[in-house]
Amino acid sequence: MDGLVLSIWLLRLLFLALLYAFLWAVVRVLLRDLRAAAREPGSELGRLFVVASPGGEPAEGSAFSLDAVTTLGRDVNNTIVIDDEFASGTHAVLTFRGRTWYVEDLGSTNGTYLNGAAVDGIAPAAFGDELQLGNVRLRLERSRR
C-alpha cells in the first residue's frame, strides 16, 4: 500500500476519532454538571421568593426552601413568619400534594391573594404564581436542580 493511500486512510480514521473526542469532551462536562447538581440539596419541593416586604420580615429578595407543609402568618410558630400589620396570626398554609401546590387561606382577616385574586378556601398554585398576604408578596418558584 503506497504512502498516499495509507495517509488518506489514517486521515479518515482521525476524523472519526476526533468526532468521538468532541463527544467525550462534551460528556465530561455534562457529567460534571450532573454531579454538581446531585450534590446540592435536592429534597426541596419548591422555593418561596420574597418579592416585596415593607416590614422587613421576611427580608425582601430572600428565598425559603419549602417542605410539603408550610404555614405562613404573624405568629412566631409559623414556618415562615410574616411580620406585617395586615397579616393574621395563622394566615395561610401551602401544601404540596403529589403533583401540585395548594394554597389555603386559614380564615385570615385580610385574606390571601393568588395572582391578585382572593383565595376562597383552597386553590391550586403553579410555579411562577404570586401570593399576597397583607403587604407581603411572595412568588412560588421551582427548586433549581
Partner: protein, 472 residues
C-alpha cells in the same frame, strides 16, 4: 453586535465553550483534509457526476464558517450572561459536517450561487440568529403574554401557504412573497411549542387536578383541553392537506410529550397514542400518499426501481458504508439520480444516508450522539428553570430538534415510514437552518438563571375570567 444601552459592558469568559469550539474546529479541519485528499486521489468518482465542478473551495468555505463560530463566541462573551456553553459548539459541529457534505454535491441544485455557497450563507445566518437571540432575549414576557396571538399568526401563515403557496413535488409547502421564499411549517413548530408552553403552564394545575375518570383512564377536563386540541387539529389537518406528513408527525409527538411533561399523566399519552393509531389507520385507507409511504416502508424492494427507489438506495448506501465508512468524498452521493446508484433528494431528505456511507456506523452513531447532547442540555435547562413556562418551553424546544432528527433518521434507516423532513443543522435549506437557529438561541437564552421572571398577569376579566372562575 450592539448591547442594550444603559447596561454596563461586563464581559464574562466562556472557557468551556472556547475549548469545545477548538475541538470542533480541529475535527472539521481534519474532515476537510480527508475530503480534499480523497478527491485528489480519485477524481474519477467525482468526474462521473455532472455539475460537481464549481463548488466552493472546501478550505475557504470552512474558514468562513469557523470564523463565524468564533465571532459568535466572542459576542456571547461580550454579552456577559451566564448561559449554556455546550449548545453552540455541538450545533456548530453539526453545521460543519453539513458544509463538508454540501460543498461537493452537484452544485446546480440550488440556483445561482450553488449548493455549497448557499448552504454556507444559511449556516452563517443561523449562527447569527443563535447569537442575537441568546445575547439579547433577556425577558420572555413577549412570548408568554401573547400565546394566542402567536397561535393565530402561525395558523394565518399556514393558511396563506395553502392559498398562495408554490407547489414543489406535489407538496404545497413553499410560500413566496416577492423575493422571499420559505417553508412556514418550520417556523410553525416553534410557534406551536411557544403556544403549548404558555397554555400548559397556565392551566397545568387544573389539568392535573380535575380529571374525569373513564374506566382506568383519566380524561382531561374538556373545557381546558379544547383550545389546545383545536389548535392541534387545525395545524394537523392543514399539514395533512398539504401532505407534509413529517411535520404532522413532529407536531403530534411534541404535543403528546409536552402534555406528559406538564401533567405527568401517562393516561393522556395513552389516549393520544390511541387517537394516533386510529387516525393512521383511517389515513392509510383514505389518502393514497400515506398508503404509498407505508407500503414502501413494509417492502421497498417490491418497487425498487419505482416508488421505493430512494429508500432502497439509502439502504445500499448504509450497507456500502459498513462500520468505518468509505471516507469523506469517497461515497457515491448524488442527487437527482446521478450517477446510477445515487440517492435522489440526498441534500434535503437523505444526508444521513450519505454520511452513513462515508463515515460508517461509527460516524452515524457519533452524529446521533450530538443530537442526544442537544436533548440532554435542553432537558437540563428545563429542569433548572424558575417557572413552569420556561421549563415547558425549554423541554419543548429541545424535543422539537430531537424528535425531528429521530423522524428523519429513522425514516432513512427504514425504522419508520419515510416522511420528508429536514435533519436539523445538516440538511440543505434556509427555512430549516434559520428556525433551528432560533430554537437553539432561545434555549441558550433560557439557560440564564439570572434572568428575571416577569410579574404574573392580573386575573383575567371578561369571558376568560368567567371561564376560569366558573371551573375553579
Amino acid at each position: 453586535m450592539m448591547l442594550p444601552t444603559g447596561r454596563r459592558f461586563r464581559p464574562r469568559a466562556r472557557r468551556r465553550e472556547l475549548g469545545l469550539l477548538a475541538v470542533a474546529a480541529v475535527t472539521l479541519l481534519a474532515g476537510a483534509f480527508s475530503l480534499d485528499a480523497t478527491r485528489r486521489l480519485s477524481p474519477v468518482v467525482i468526474a462521473g457526476v455532472e455539475g460537481t465542478a464549481g463548488g466552493p473551495n472546501v478550505g475557504a468555505a470552512l474558514g468562513v464558517y469557523l470564523a463565524a463560530l468564533v465571532a459568535a463566541h466572542f459576542v456571547l462573551v461580550a454579552a456577559g450572561r451566564r448561559t449554556d456553553q455546550i449548545l453552540l459548539p455541538t450545533v456548530g459541529l453539526l453545521g460543519g459536517i453539513s458544509l463538508l457534505l454540501m460543498v461537493r454535491l452537484p452544485q446546480g441544485l440550488a440556483g445561482g450561487l450553488g449548493l455549497g455557497t448557499t448552504q454556507l450563507v444559511w449556516l452563517v445566518g443561523s449562527i447569527a440568529i443563535i447569537t442575537a437571540v441568546s445575547a439579547l432575549a433577556r425577558n420572555d414576557a413577549w412570548l408568554r403574554r401573547y400565546k394566542y396571538t402567536w397561535a393565530a399568526f402561525g395558523i394565518g401563515l399556514l393558511l396563506l401557504t395553502f392559498i398562495l403557496g408554490r407547489e414543489v413535488n406535489g407538496q404545497r409547502l413553499t410560500l413566496a412573497i416577492g423575493p422571499l421564499a420559505g417553508q412556514p411549517s418550520e417556523l410553525l413548530k416553534v410557534i406551536l411549542v411557544v403556544f403549548l408552553a404558555g397554555y400548559l403552564s397556565e392551566n397545568r394545575t387544573l389539568l392535573v387536578e380535575q380529571s374525569t375518570r373513564l374506566g382506568p383512564l383519566h380524561l382531561p377536563p374538556l373545557p381546558y383541553l379544547a383550545p389546545m386540541v383545536a389548535m392541534w387539529a387545525i395545524a394537523l389537518s392543514i399539514v395533512v392537506i398539504q401532505r407534509d406528513l413529517g411535520a404532522a408527525l413532529l407536531f403530534f409527538a411534541v404535543f403528546l410529550l409536552l402534555l406528559y411533561i406538564a401533567t405527568g399523566r401517562a393516561s393522556f399519552v395513552v389516549l393520544g397514542l390511541m387517537a394516533f393509531i386510529a387516525a393512521g389507520a383511517v389515513l392509510y385507507e383514505v389518502v393514497p400518499h400515506v398508503r404509498t409511504r407505508v407500503d414502501i416502508w413494509i417492502d421497498p424492494f417490491a418497487s425498487a426501481s419505482g416508488a421505493g427507489y430512494q429508500v432502497v438506495q439509502a439502504l445500499h448506501a448504509f450497507g456500502r458504508g459498513g462500520i468505518l465508512g468509505t471516507g469523506l468524498g469517497a461515497g457515491l452521493p448524488a442527487v437527482g439520480g446521478l450517477p446510477p446508484g445515487g440517492i435522489p433528494a440526498l441534500h434535503t431528505d437523505f444526508p444521513l444516508a450519505a454520511l452513513g456511507e462515508e463515515l460508517g456506523l461509527i460516524g452515524v452513531l457519533a452524529i446521533l450522539g450530538l443530537y442526544l447532547v442537544v436533548i440532554e442540555r435542553g432537558l437540563r435547562i428545563a429542569a433548572s428553570a424558575a417557572d413552569d413556562f420556561r421549563a415547558i418551553l425549554a423541554a419543548g424546544l429541545s424535543l422539537v430538534i430531537g424528535v425531528q432528527a429521530f423522524i428523519i433518521a429513522a425514516g432513512n434507516l427504514k425504522l419508520i415510514p419515510l416522511t420528508g423532513i429536514t435533519l436539523p443543522f445538516i440538511s440543505y435549506g434556509g427555512s430549516s437552518l434559520l428556525t433551528n437557529g432560533l430554537v437553539v438561541g432561545l434555549l441558550i437564552a433560557l439557560s440564564d438563571r439570572g434572568a428575571e421572571l416577569p410579574a404574573p398577569s392580573p386575573p383575567a376579566r371578561g369571558l376568560r375570567g368567567l371561564l376560569d372562575r366558573g371551573a375553579a
